[in-house]
Symmetry: C2
């Protein structure tokens, strides 16, 4: 090797050791550092996300798709964005499913001596009602569909009680949820396949509490429909203890829920139109509908007001994004995804090019970072901005899921991003009467909006 | 430059670019990675910190130094460590101050037309009582001691109302606290210096709430003692609004607090004695005393049970630390630091060498990392372990404060470390009736113990 080739190797090696694009990203970091600080200081000094969430959860608390509260939420968030002088505030109309819980939902456990214990239950979203007078049948407990199959003819005529808890040893509570939620989503179908007459599902939560956690379940055309309900974790434990004694336990289940005809509703849209590339769009959003037991403060009122607040902060700082930053309140994430599916194909999308979509739908807790659902080039690009997000104490920029509402965009190749907040408490509240504004801290909620504002603004200026 | 010197430069440069000690730390990281995962899984699957905290806060809720609950807390935590089969469980006796709140604390605002409004107040720790019948005087509001000085003779005979809020735009709530707490600690002395008759201090919190937040205040020998009380932030705002109208507002203040003779109490100590270097000690602790308004769930019951839980987890995994890991429940952090001061000079310290001291005293929230109060060599060493703490989602290993109880150790040159949890909510609860167990999440609390266990075990094996 001559000295010239040594020098060449040396130069190559040095540039290999240096992180890829170090110099470019250093420039980006120093460019946006003052903006990161100003966004944070402005948000913390004069936060408005919490106040918006208070209005949303008090004026439109039970905003399940098709409900009058959902209609109120559409009008309210449209008015909020209008009052904040966002550009191009409008509704994009869609039809949504209209499932209603009805006045009656009641569960009772009955042991052989006739003693009755009330069970704290609620219908799962999409369930059919029980016949008038309810269903009374013996209960059989299973922890998995495999266990259910193994029961064979013993399952016939029974109420199938799914009681596999979350894996508490899993740090990521969303993973723990993912490991249990098949019981809720497919429990009724699998019960019916073996001749079961109803599904009773342990609530999807890590908490030991006395409220049921609802959520979507589904049917398939080829299998009979049987009713499905969630039972609180405390009563699931009680029922399991009753069964452990070896005695026959019957449960009486009464549900009055029903699916009504579709209703007209809308995605709610507002933006800061880009000054140089108005047709290049960064979406930031959450879903406006929520389950009807609480008031959807974390799921996903938080995500909606954070999107609005992110744009407000950008405007408040007098920033003029080159590309369009658009807040979208998606309708019907919980039981249909009609809003998410409609958005990419709406007539308004003509001539638009989407650069990125960011969703907040994991609660309004203190942000830890952003998950990235994109190719490795985009991942590295975004990770090179880490020092900026570390200023906000949200430097975890790791590959991961974007969000359900933006999944139709992601399916079209648009890079998706998910606000990643502290996750331990989310499922304590999720889909239950406990998902109320008193569980939200104003500063934590606001910091999520600050993280979103910074991310959207950088992408609006730098592209992806 | 000849080719040989180019090669030498090249080698030097490469080693300069590589992080110092990269190879050594890689070995350490791979050595402890399985342990980090096992500690976390064990803690999350079978957490015991929360259950211990439930016992502590229910059996000994009002454990201010010198109180009967403080004595109960000493016995309870000693018994817990004994039952967990820790080594060398014992008390280290100290004398502590004994301030009591007394039965009466009442504040009333009186406007010129005679209309009275109750003020939600409480005595600050260490305050003298008002004379029987209370003190009634005109109120003057200030935001700083400079403003107070500028009042000149106008302050004479007045109740000085300190109303400078936390700087909400400060991300670090402990910095915001530090920017306001002089009003509480020195307010009475500065009031007396200008002839004021009492100090009424806006509660030290970012929350707008209706409970007063107490905390320590002090006197100096050369200045007359006047009583000092905290007022809730809601009533501080109300009082300020009354004064803005330009009217004279008088306040009647009644306090019955007093300082009784010192009482015998103790630090509570238990350990896993080191298998190779038993005299080399890593301390992990919190303080057992708390203010008397809540039950000290976050401040600092959390820190105490996390220390015990950290040792329990290490034992549960069957690990045998080479150096001694010692849990210390320090007594009297809130109003005297007698426990912290006594620990390094206790007779039991003979022949011991302390390697590190880790304190958790910022609440039982989700851990973000560890702050490091040590020289730059130790900082870099600990930072090289970052990948391990990132497994626990607690990778922020930055220079910062250790803890008040371990400050006497730090003053002797021992590296100090502070568990660094999510901080937005701490001062919502701090020193008030709101600091109760329902504000603590079991998983977040447990994860703090897991982080402590990992840190202590690595230091026990590797030294510092």
């Amino acid at each position: 090797m001559d000295s010239r080739s040594i020098v060449v190797s040396f130069v190559v090696l040095v540039f290999t050791i240096l992180p890829a694009g170090a110099q470019v990203s250093d420039v980006v970091v120093s460019r946006y550092e003052p903006i990161a600080r100003r966004l944070m200081e402005t948000g913390l000094r004069n936060p408005q996300a919490y106040e918006m969430l208070e209005r949303l959860t008090s004026e439109a608390p039970r905003r399940l798709s098709g409900s009058s509260d959902a209609a109120k939420a559409v009008e309210l968030t449209k008015r909020m964005m209008h009052d904040l002088k966002f550009d191009n505030v409008h509704l994009e109309l869609i039809k949504v499913p209209h499932w209603v819980r009805g006045p009656v939902e009641r569960g009772t456990a009955i042991v052989p001596n006739g003693k009755k214990s009330p069970l704290t239950i609620c219908a799962l979203g999409g369930s059919i009602a029980t016949p008038k007078g309810g269903i009374t049948a013996e209960v059989v407990e299973v922890k998995s569909f495999e266990e259910l199959q193994a029961l064979g003819p013993k399952a016939k005529g029974k109420i199938i009680f799914y009681n596999r808890p979350f894996d508490a040893s899993e740090f990521n509570t969303f993973e723990a949820y993912g490991g249990a939620v098949d019981q809720r989503s497919k429990g009724a179908v699998e019960a019916a396949r073996v001749g079961g007459v109803a599904a009773l599902v342990r609530s999807m939560t890590l908490a030991l509490d006395d409220v049921p956690h609802t959520g979507m379940m589904g049917y398939v055309d080829s299998v009979a429909k049987v009713p499905a309900a969630a039972v609180s974790t405390m009563d699931a434990n009680m029922l399991s203890e009753m069964l452990k004694k070896g005695q026959k336990v019957r449960v009486k289940l009464e549900l009055s829920c029903e699916t009504l005809p579709d209703v007209e509703s809308a995605n709610v849209v507002g933006e800061i139109t880009g000054s140089e590339f108005p047709n290049e769009v960064i979406v930031v959003g959450g879903h406006l509908d929520c389950w009807d037991k609480g008031s959807g403060a974390h799921d996903d009122g938080a995500g909606c007001v954070q999107a609005i607040e992110a744009l407000r902060l950008i405007k408040e700082l007098g920033l003029k994004p080159k590309r369009t930053i658009r807040a979208v309140m998606f309708m019907n994430e919980e039981n249909g995804l009609r809003g998410g599916k409609a958005y990419p194909v709406a007539p308004e999308r003509q001539g638009e090019k989407h650069i990125a979509a960011l969703e907040s739908d994991r609660g309004g807790f203190a942000p830890r970072g952003i998950t990235i659902a994109a190719d490795s080039v985009v991942v590295r690009r975004v990770q090179s901005w880490r020092p900026l997000f570390e200023i906000l104490s949200a430097g975890q920029l790791d590959p991961g899921y974007g969000g359900v509402d933006i999944s139709p965009l992601m399916d079209r190749g648009i890079p998706g991003f998910g606000l990643h907040p502290e996750g331990h408490r989310y499922f304590d509240y999720h889909h239950s009467a406990n998902d109320t504004i008193d569980k939200v801290n104003a500063r934590e909620l606001e910091m999520g909006a600050v993280v979103e504002a910074l991310f959207c603004y950088i992408v609006a200026q730098e592209g992806l």
